[in-house]
């Protein structure tokens, strides 16, 4: 390799200087570009009504969240089709109905993709209403983007506590209570029935961890003894050993907090282990009852406890949308595969949007938020009573504790055994 030195140096130096200055200029250009884009706000606040109300959302058609995300989207789509059949959603600011258009983008259960899509909905599609995907993991990327661009985020079921902070008005949790208060009815039940020696096994993730923490705090404060407080990896599918070690402690109640695969594995292995606990609680049978019935049948589910999702409560007096029976009929006719809790949650999101649009003084994002603050506590739907605190977190729509009673054939019936619910059954404790 022959090296020629001096003749090239001046040229190289000039070249280097040129490159540096070009580089510096580009960085300035970059900075200008980005700071101007972050103050994009929503569509026009002009006095003439828009021809369409666009709702933008992300959903997961594949990946680990698809089971919940797809029916939730179907519920929202049901609401849209019902409104459009009436000529559109009623927008109070313009005193008329305006047709609704949905832009639903697929994030494949990947939070980074979801973030890019939320950004797109805001900066490219400039939607009127921004709705999050299912669950905390896929809602998280939207929170800061919405806040930075001054968009109200309609958080459907992302119940993570950190999302809601004082000073951020740009988020409202629509369909489920914030995760710290979910277990309140369960904790109260245990305390009221003087159940001693409670065992808690929970999955290592935000959803189950926050419930476990709440239970832990409430039960300890009430003087209930915890014989076990075990965290297991979210991917756990083998509970036989854990069941054995719990049995040795003779607990009065075993609370297993996991996702659906955890609950299925736990209940199946409990059934085949021959161990019997006086009370067993798992999270998901209340949300996916028919799935659990097919996997466990009556024998594996009877007398266990779960969250009594509003899907199993019959509401006849509602201030927005359809009452329960009519809603279920419409849902079965249009989206039969979404006839479960998630379909109800998606439909409820639509009702919250409807309430916001009806009561807002304009289409600006803050006007929508103020409208929801006004209706908080007075909006009753098939999902219970909508009530938000000053940070936008849902403190209404509480899930009662429910028990599964033997039904006909190989099925079980879910009945709430604590408030809030339209009708309350008496619990059977200890389980026979």
């Amino acid at each position: 390799m022959v090296r020629t030195s001096s003749p090239r140096k001046p040229r190289a130096r000039r070249f280097g200087l040129g490159a540096l200055s070009l580089g510096a200029l580009s960085l300035v250009a970059a900075a200008c570009g980005s700071s101007s884009s972050s103050s994009t706000s929503s569509s026009s606040t002009s006095s003439s009504a828009p021809s369409q109300i666009t709702i933008g959302t992300a959903y997961a058609s594949s990946g680990s969240f698809a089971t919940s995300s797809v029916p939730e989207l179907d519920g929202l789509k049901l609401w849209i089709s019902l409104e459009n059949a009436k000529g559109g959603v009623y927008v109070g600011a313009y005193h008329k109905r305006i047709p609704v258009k949905l832009i639903a983008l697929n994030d494949q259960s990947n939070p980074s993709t979801a973030g890019v899509l939320y950004n797109q909905l805001i900066t490219q599609d400039k939607v009127n209403i921004l709705v999050a995907d299912f669950g905390s993991v896929l809602t998280a990327p939207a929170v800061t983007i919405a806040q930075a661009h001054h968009y109200l985020l309609f958080d459907q079921s992302g119940t993570g506590i950190p999302f809601f902070t004082p000073g951020n008005p740009y988020i409202v949790l629509c369909d489920l209570p914030v995760s710290s208060i979910w277990p309140d009815p369960l904790a109260n039940f245990i305390i009221d029935h003087h159940i001693k020696n409670v065992a808690i096994v929970y999955g290592g993730n935000d959803f189950d961890g926050s419930q476990a923490e709440t239970l832990h705090a409430k039960l300890m404060a009430a003087g209930v003894h915890l014989v076990a407080y075990e965290e297991v990896p979210t991917s756990t599918s083998s509970y036989s050993t854990i069941i054995s070690s719990l049995a040795a402690q003779h607990p009065g109640a075993v609370l297993e907090l996991g996702y659906q695969p955890n609950d299925t594995a736990f209940l199946q292995q409990l059934e085949s282990s021959g161990v019997h606990f006086p009370m067993v609680f798992t999270v998901f049978p209340g949300q996916l009852l028919s799935l659990f019935e097919s996997q466990l049948g009556k024998a594996g589910l009877q007398y266990t406890f779960t969250y009594g999702t509003n899907f199993f409560n019959t509401y006849t007096n509602v201030s927005e949308g359809l009452p329960t029976k009519a809603f279920l009929a419409k849902l079965s006719a249009t989206y039969p595969s979404a006839v479960n809790t998630l379909g109800l949650l998606g439909y409820n999101t639509g009702l919250v949007i409807e309430a916001a649009l009806r009561n807002a003084t304009s289409l600006s994002q803050l006007a929508l938020r103020n409208a929801l603050t006004e209706v908080s506590g007075h909006l009753t739907t098939v999902d219970g009573t909508f009530a938000i605190n000053s940070e936008g977190a849902q403190v209404g729509e509480l899930l009662p504790l429910a028990q599964l009673f033997p039904g006909s054939g190989n099925t079980v019936e879910l009945k709430p055994v604590t408030p809030p619910a339209p009708s309350i059954a008496s619990a059977v404790y200890p389980a026979p």
Binding site: F15, A19, L27, A29, G33, N106, T123, P162, G204
Partner: protein, 330 residues
């Protein structure tokens, strides 16, 4: 023919310098101005992160022949180091960014013993290490440090102007690193190590040390990319950053463009990441299918990627020139 060979040696240098200068400047300027064209800044920030990581794969695989499947572990380490800087040390964002790089390099140092293993085993061992790191970070026992499975909330340092500019700088740094490796003695020694480590060490090259330096450069690139991801995203859970998909994408981008070249990984990242997002937006459920097929097809039919195809075409063209010259002078 002396004239032919001499002219070929000389003319190859100037275009190469120009090519490398463009290879650095065009992406940097392009990304700087891109926001005025497409104001989805998250998309651009992520894309720039992938350019940096594809170049990181370029450094470690193209120059040393080692392929770390666990590359995403360094990305996650950078993201969490940044997060710890924000939530525990309360440092300003740029200091946390530096911490992100340091964190990834630290993990890279811990993984250096894995270089004892041969290619494929190194790949899988790094995968196991990265997955283990993800599990450790997400473990509730470490909640006081990393917030465990509850995810990080870094909204307090959100500043889109700053993280966008930082991303452009990262792209520039990654490209300059590759340019340096392509033109320096150090880079040449790395390629010697890749092709025959025993011969290289017999020449007096300190094989483990030089390989470690290349590895740490690649680790730093991934770490900074991770830190920028954390900065731009604000709210994320461990599974978002400790995800093998990240390695898959960086790897496919680098392979598609052509490992060992300067333009290859950059083009691969820009073209394929755009496609990846378009596919996501228009909703065929098959992105994973397409990417898997892309990897398989690349390996089977185009192992040198776009650059290989481009080089193949250029060789064909050069050979035609030569034949014409020979015919003319014959």
């Amino acid at each position: 023919m002396p004239e032919h060979s001499a002219s070929r040696v000389d003319t190859s240098r100037r275009p190469r310098l120009l090519n490398e200068a463009l290879g650095v400047l065009v992406p940097v300027v392009g990304f700087s101005l891109a926001l005025h064209v497409d104001n989805n800044e998250l998309l651009l920030v992520y894309m720039m992160g992938y350019v940096a990581m594809a170049q990181g794969i370029n450094v470690i695989y193209g120059f040393t022949g080692y392929l770390p499947f666990g590359y995403f572990g360094l990305f996650g380490a950078g993201a969490y180091a940044f997060g710890i800087g924000v939530t525990h040390l309360h440092w300003p964002a740029f200091a946390d960014l530096a911490l992100g790089g340091v964190g990834a390099v630290a993990i890279g140092v811990v993984l250096i013993p894995l270089f004892r293993l041969r290619g494929a085993y190194f790949a899988i061992a790094t995968l196991a290490a990265a997955l283990a790191l993800g599990d450790i970070v997400a473990n509730p026992a470490l909640t006081s440090l990393t917030n465990g499975p509850d995810g990080l909330n870094l909204g307090s340092v959100y500043n889109s102007g700053e993280f966008y500019v930082s991303s452009v700088v990262l792209v520039a740094v990654s490209l300059l690193a590759v340019v340096w490796l392509r033109n320096s003695r150090f880079g040449l020694s790395l390629r010697a190590i890749r092709d025959d480590p025993y011969a290289a060490s017999m020449m007096g090259i300190n094989v483990p040390l030089r390989r470690a330096v290349a590895w740490l450069i690649a680790a730093a690139l991934a770490g900074f990319a991770g830190a920028l991801y954390a900065w731009a995203t604000s709210f994320f859970y461990p599974t978002a950053v400790f995800d093998v998909t990240i390695t898959v994408l960086a790897l496919v981008f680098a392979l598609f463009g052509g490992v060992g070249t300067l333009w290859g990984p950059t083009l691969g990242a820009i073209v394929l990441y755009s496609l990846y997002d378009i596919v996501g937006v228009t909703d065929p459920q098959a992105f994973q299918l397409i990417y898997g097929l892309a990897i398989a097809m690349l390996v089977l039919f185009a192992p040198r990627g776009l650059a290989g195809i481009a080089a193949g075409i250029r060789n064909l063209w050069l050979r035609r020139q030569e034949r014409e010259v020979n015919r003319a002078t014959a």
